[in-house]
């Protein structure tokens, strides 16, 4: 009995929030998704990437039962979507593509509709808290038709979080958000993930955000998987972006002009020089600069998802 209980608990802990197995989707002769399989472990932030027309939206729609797969299966929380749609949808919050609302209703009226549809009984205080969380306080009574795209995104996020879902699927949630909004969203998602254990499937064209948020990711192109794994594992040394800060700018410029790494220089802003370098070249650059009388203030590197993405989707 105890063993079975432990097995059950361990299954729950180890279980995947999403399991997509060999899904395909055809629209007539056009194959939008060829053969897609991936897993999203519970409690992770998972990046779902792909260029325009890659089959990303179609896949997300299949995962949310908006369109039916031609073949394959999708499971959520260990249960097939086909047979448990109602229960599964009750545990998912989502924004798919642009957030569309009933523009003739206020944001509050819209949220009340969605709360009712989810069987959520919210108090006034609950709504106030939610508006504060997504940054809509004071504007909830306005008609949605007066909202900017960014405000609609915030409202979209509010409706996705309304019923305290276990899994949050966000398709381009930071489109239209100002920089402050992007940072707030990032912090909110991290908080939801770290503190409340929510699984998040995150899709965005702002790859720096994906890189900053996601534990693992999948990249699809032409309806099939082109890369999948943990972010750290996927990004190779080729994708390092090295930032070198110098104390004396003029000497630094001359030193780089005369170096063999001249062509790898990506940009120069103020006293910062940014280069794409393999890992083993970094100490060599640092030594070279010091030997040529350049004051080396700092030297750091980070891996760039953007480069990786372009490389695997466009062959660059």
């Amino acid at each position: 009995m105890t063993f079975e209980y432990l097995l059950c608990i361990s299954k729950w802990i180890m279980s995947n929030a999403i399991e997509v197995k060999n899904i395909k989707k055809k629209f007539g002769d056009f194959v939008a998704v060829k053969d897609l399989s991936f897993e999203v472990p519970a409690g992770e932030i998972f990046g779902f990437l792909g260029p325009n027309g890659s089959g990303k939206s179609t896949s997300l729609r299949m995962m949310l039962a908006l369109i039916s797969p031609t073949d394959g299966s999708i499971d959520f929380f260990g249960k097939p979507l086909k047979k448990n749609r109602s229960e599964i949808m009750g545990r998912i919050g989502c924004i798919i593509e642009k957030p569309d609302f009933y523009t003739y209703l206020s944001a509050h009226e819209n949220l009340k509709l969605f709360a009712r549809a989810n069987g959520v009984d919210y108090s006034k205080e609950d709504y106030t808290e939610l508006y504060e969380l997504v940054g809509l306080s004071g504007r909830e009574g306005d008609k949605v038709k007066t909202y900017s795209h960014g405000m609609k995104q915030r409202l979209g996020l509010a409706q996705a979080l309304l019923h305290n879902p276990d899994l949050i699927i966000l398709d381009e949630p930071n489109t239209g958000l100002d920089p402050k909004g992007i940072i707030e969203l990032r912090e909110l998602l991290l908080k939801l993930n770290k503190e409340e254990g929510k699984t998040i499937l995150f899709s965005s064209h702002i790859l720096s955000e994906v890189e900053a948020l996601c534990d693992s990711l999948i990249v699809i192109n032409n309806g099939e998987t082109v890369a999948q794994g943990r972010v750290e594992d996927l990004l190779s040394d080729e994708d390092l972006l090295v930032d070198i800060e110098v104390g004396n700018l003029e000497k630094g410029k001359v030193a780089f002009e005369n170096s063999k790494w001249k062509d790898l220089l990506r940009e120069q802003k103020g006293n910062h020089f940014r280069l794409n370098l393999p890992m083993d070249e970094i100490p060599k650059v640092n030594t070279y600069l010091i030997e040529n009388g350049v004051e080396l203030v700092s030297s750091s590197y980070r891996k760039r998802l953007e480069d990786y993405f372009l490389r695997i989707t466009q062959g660059k």
Binding site: L66, E97, D100, E109, L113, F114, A117, N118
Partner: protein
């Protein structure tokens, strides 16, 4: 059931709050008031079209131009406009939400597609009922308030029937029930087309096109048309007028109601079948 009631409540709120929903009420109010004013001014002349033929030999006693007659004329006039007003709202219930993208949000909730669709259909029925009730109140009670109540002179192709004022309430009640059933078919047809098509205008235009085509087929006394005429819903849309026959042709009314009801069942069933298999791509 609780879930269904919740989404039905949502649909009703949306239907009531949509600006488009008020167009129908505005048109009905405008037509009713303008016709009532016209009848108050020129009613006697309009009536002489019918009674003039008789007045050589007979004089008509009683208040011919009365609220019951005005209501009857208003019903007869508005039977042409009502399908358009109903389709304007019900033809947009599904396709409108697909086109604007809100359907995505609706269908990513726990309620099944069937429940969402049936709730939308019921909201359409509720709107149709409200519109008809509004017409009933304006056409019957306001007309009676202005013109008084008396017997109704009812004209059909067989001639003229005088229906006693005492019988008017139950006859009008029956007529409104049949008219509701007729308009429900139009609403269900618009709802069906709204399920099949993805933009909000085409289902409305298509519904009206079907109503017009079927009405034209129903008007011609040709053998090839006569075969299909009994099965066209437009043929039975005027069955409400049977309530003003004397005696009331019960069997004809029952037959019409069965045909209208069958249309609703088939159209709604088809809508559910199609909607459950529909890909939401917008």
């Amino acid at each position: 059931m609780k879930e269904f009631i919740a989404i039905l409540k949502n649909e009703l709120i949306k239907t009531i709050k949509r600006p488009r929903s008020f167009i129908g009420f505005g048109v009905v109010a405008f037509i009713c008031l303008i016709l009532q004013a016209a009848f108050a001014n020129d009613g006697r002349e309009i009536l002489s079209l019918v009674t003039g033929q008789l007045e050589n030999t007979l004089s008509i006693e009683g208040q011919v131009l009365n609220g019951n007659l005005i209501c009857f004329v208003l019903l007869q006039t508005l039977i042409i406009q009502m399908p358009l007003l109903v389709a304007l709202v019900t033809g947009d219930l599904v396709s409108g939400e697909v086109a604007t993208g809100t359907m995505r949000f609706l269908l990513t909730r726990p309620a099944s597609r069937t429940k969402v669709l049936v709730a939308k259909w019921l909201a359409g029925m509720f709107y149709t009922f409200l519109l008809l009730l509004f017409l009933g109140v304006l056409a019957l009670f306001v007309s009676r308030g202005i013109f008084g109540a008396d017997d109704l002179i009812h004209v059909n192709s067989e001639g003229l029937t005088v229906i006693q004022a005492n019988d008017m309430n139950w006859r009008f009640a029956g007529a409104f029930v049949i008219a509701f059933l007729s308009l429900s078919v139009v609403a269900t047809l618009a709802h069906f087309l709204s399920t099949v098509l993805d933009n909000s205008i085409t289902p409305i235009v298509s519904t009206m096109a079907i109503v017009i085509i079927f009405t034209i087929i129903g008007m011609f006394d040709m053998p090839s048309f006569n075969v299909i005429q009994p099965f066209l819903f437009t043929t039975h849309m005027i069955s409400w007028k049977d309530m003003f026959e004397d005696p009331v042709p019960k069997q004809e009314i029952i037959n019409s109601c069965i045909i209208l009801f069958a249309h609703i069942v088939v159209l709604l069933g088809s809508s559910i079948y199609i909607f459950n298999r529909k890909d939401i791509n917008s």
